[in-house]
């Protein structure tokens, strides 16, 4: 049994999760976001006559479908605020700003956005603000670049005006990119596994209760619900328990098709791992074939497995590992 590495040796690696969410819009959202592109702010009137900005498709109280659009002013009043001294990636401004909830003139609810102000002393609840439009507008909430202070200007006397919501080339969807940065740490068991693999040894972990050896180990026996801790070197030889023939070339993978991908039970392991089989014509690979890993010079895991030339394993020796 190898001593467990101390926590300072635990592996970690950057992990970036990034994808664009493509989202379709309901009719009210479509009109609202298209309106922003045209520098027009639309609200929706609820069953009880309130005007919601930003508008929603359904009444928050009665759940009734809402379609009665009105145009509200690009000016409004701050209902609450918070001073953000260190803006982070993606936020509307890259200099310190106030988050504000703004009730636009003609609206009964408030919209969240940023207020471009010189400092927190220039911000207060009740102050008047005005929309600063983004120069390039696409039909998104970010078409409002931010709000700016609007001095002592009074709210317009006129109420919200009915609006058809009709624009040319309405926006029907948005693409919302999202990126989150993580530091992935695999924990004790997988760190031990990866450390051994760097020395071209495959090390599993044995369940103290049912004695099964898990490869790769994840730290717990899923049958007994107990921690695995005893390390057991397995392989290097193993047995193909089952396989498939791959006929589709994967993107960014320099392997000629067809090739064989197999489940391989390494000698001493309690479950099969998977890997590619090479060094034998694809149509000669079979269940029970004995194989051994082939490492490339700088590979951190076996590149593939090749036949050892040993007689095939008897079905009874691996049937529990299928």
């Amino acid at each position: 049994m190898t001593p467990a590495p101390s926590s300072s040796e635990a592996l970690r690696a950057p992990l970036v999760v990034e994808f664009p969410f493509t989202r379709s819009l309901g009719p009210v959202q479509s009109d609202f976001l298209t309106g922003l592109r045209e520098r027009t702010v639309l609200g929706v009137r609820t069953t009880d006559g309130r005007v919601l900005v930003p508008p929603v498709e359904y009444d928050p109280v009665t759940a009734a479908e809402l379609r009665d659009l009105v145009e509200v002013a690009p000016t409004g009043t701050v209902t609450t605020w918070a001073w953000n001294p260190s803006p982070s990636r993606g936020q509307p401004l890259d200099t310190p700003f106030a988050w504000v909830l703004v009730r636009l003139d003609g609206a009964d609810t408030a919209l969240l956005h940023a207020l471009d102000a010189p400092g927190p002393e220039a911000v207060r609840t009740g102050m008047r603000v005005r929309i600063r439009w983004a120069e390039r507008r696409t039909g998104a909430i970010t078409d409002i670049a931010c709000f700016t202070p609007d001095g002592d200007a009074a709210a317009p006397a006129a109420g919200p005006a009915p609006h058809s919501g009709e624009f040319t080339e309405p926006v029907r969807g948005i693409v919302a990119p999202a990126r989150l940065d993580y530091t992935y740490a695999p924990g004790r068991a997988q760190t031990r596994f990866l450390a051994a693999l760097a020395g071209r040894r495959t090390v599993g972990e044995r369940c103290p209760s049912c004695r099964k050896v898990y490869v790769p180990p994840r730290g717990a026996c899923p049958t007994c619900g107990v921690a695995t801790a005893e390390q057991v070197e397995v392989g290097p030889h193993g047995t193909v328990t089952t396989f498939c023939i791959v006929n589709i070339k994967a993107k960014n993978l320099d392997i000629e098709v067809p090739y064989v991908y197999a489940h391989i039970a390494l000698d001493g392991a309690g479950l099969a791992l998977h890997g590619r089989i090479a060094g034998i014509p694809y149509d000669q690979v079979r269940m029970g074939l004995r194989v051994t890993p082939v490492w490339t010079e700088d590979g951190r895991y076996p590149d593939h497995y090749r036949p050892t030339g040993e007689p095939d394993a008897d079905y009874d020796t691996y049937k529990e590992l299928l």
Partner: protein, 353 residues
């Protein structure tokens, strides 16, 4: 209706960084302790329900790895909520009420350390109107705090008082991530994090896990000398648009408390899931907690706020107070989302000894 009780509770030590262990490695000692406490093995549990979030780990279906820790193969009766474990407990309570199981294991865990939590939490917001602006969790809480200050419901000194009281109480909590505090006066000399909130108004960011065992009727009496009977439990949600809500009120908390029977008789203890000091002010009023109620003797979420577990821990702490005879009737509250978006209230009681 069947009687259901919390019969055991365990939690990890909450730490700012647990990169030395995987999620299941962090969770397993907690599962072991809670099961040992009632002398059950994982295989003897009737139903298992967990709470966690893939966005914390940055990996899809990350909870399936944690399932290894409960011995889920061959398949057990199991469920998962992508929420705080308090909601997993609600599901398990429902399952026990149906009579399909007599015991349930509920666990939840969260590691905030792999990512930037304030950024990660923006992804739970409205994807059309809010998420594209990346408003972080502290800023949203600050908007609510300012609204409470503007309404005269609190001030920065009172908020510092909440921080001081909570972290002083946490000195008696060996699992707390943050304990001990300067007096409210000196706290006010520290800079703002997001005005009007200072660092002491905000929960520590960290990793942790918690688990409870639920049992019905005589099974509960057999497993625990003084079960914490769930007399009522309910959860309610606010409209999701922040600007539609009256941020100085929490009608969802009030309604959940009414439905859980919180106002039928006074409670002696309350464990409130108020990650920000200002939220405790709001919750005290909505829950009509008088000055004689012990609020967050554990230190609450200001002492340790492991995402997805801090709500379940409120239920566990309230139950543990009843188990040890420190409370006869306790209220537990859990929250989820920005500015107390969704709220769960449970009322727990011990039988007279």
């Amino acid at each position: 209706m069947r009687e259901v009780a919390i019969v055991a509770f365990a939690q990890s030590d909450h730490r700012p960084d647990t990169s030395d262990v995987s999620e299941v490695e962090m969770l397993m000692p907690v599962l072991r302790r809670v099961l040992d406490d009632v002398g059950l093995t994982a295989g003897e549990i009737g139903f298992t329900c967990s709470g966690s979030s893939d966005y914390l780990a940055g990996r899809a279906f990350s909870f399936t790895m944690a399932l290894d820790g409960v011995g889920a193969w061959p398949p057990i009766s199991e469920s998962h909520v992508e929420m705080d474990g308090a909601w997993a407990l609600h599901e398990a309570w429902t399952k026990l009420l149906t009579g399909e199981a007599d015991t349930a294991l509920v666990y939840s865990y969260g590691k905030s350390s792999p990512g930037d939590l304030r950024e990660v939490l923006t992804r739970q917001l409205d994807p059309y109107y809010l998420a594209p602006l990346w408003p972080d969790s502290v800023s949203l809480a600050a908007l609510q705090a300012q609204a409470l200050i503007d309404a005269g419901e609190t001030d920065e000194r009172a908020l510092a008082g909440v921080a001081h009281r909570s972290r002083t109480a946490a000195e008696a909590n060996p699992h707390a991530q943050l304990s001990g505090s300067a007096a409210p006066g000196p706290l006010l000399d520290t800079p703002y994090l997001v005005r009007p909130l200072r660092r002491h108004d905000c929960p520590p960011i960290g990793d942790g896990a918690a688990a409870v065992v639920l049992a019905a009727g005589d099974t509960a009496r057999g497993l625990c000398p003084r079960p914490a009977w769930i007399r009522g439990i309910d959860h309610r949600v606010e409209p999701h648009a922040l600007g539609v809500r009256e941020l100085t009120r929490s009608p969802s908390t009030r309604l959940a408390a009414e439905r859980a029977g919180a106002f039928d008789a006074p409670v002696d203890t309350a464990e409130l899931h108020a990650p920000f000091t200002s939220q405790e002010v709001l919750l005290r009023r909505e829950l009509r907690l008088g000055a004689d109620v012990r609020v967050n003797p554990s230190g609450g979420a200001l002492a340790a706020n492991p995402m997805m577990a801090a709500g379940l821990i409120r239920l566990g702490e309230a139950a543990a107070a009843i188990h040890r005879g420190g409370s006869d009737r306790a209220l537990a509250h859990a929250t989820s989302g920005p500015c107390l978006q969704q709220n769960l209230v449970a009322v727990l009681e011990g039988e007279p000894s």
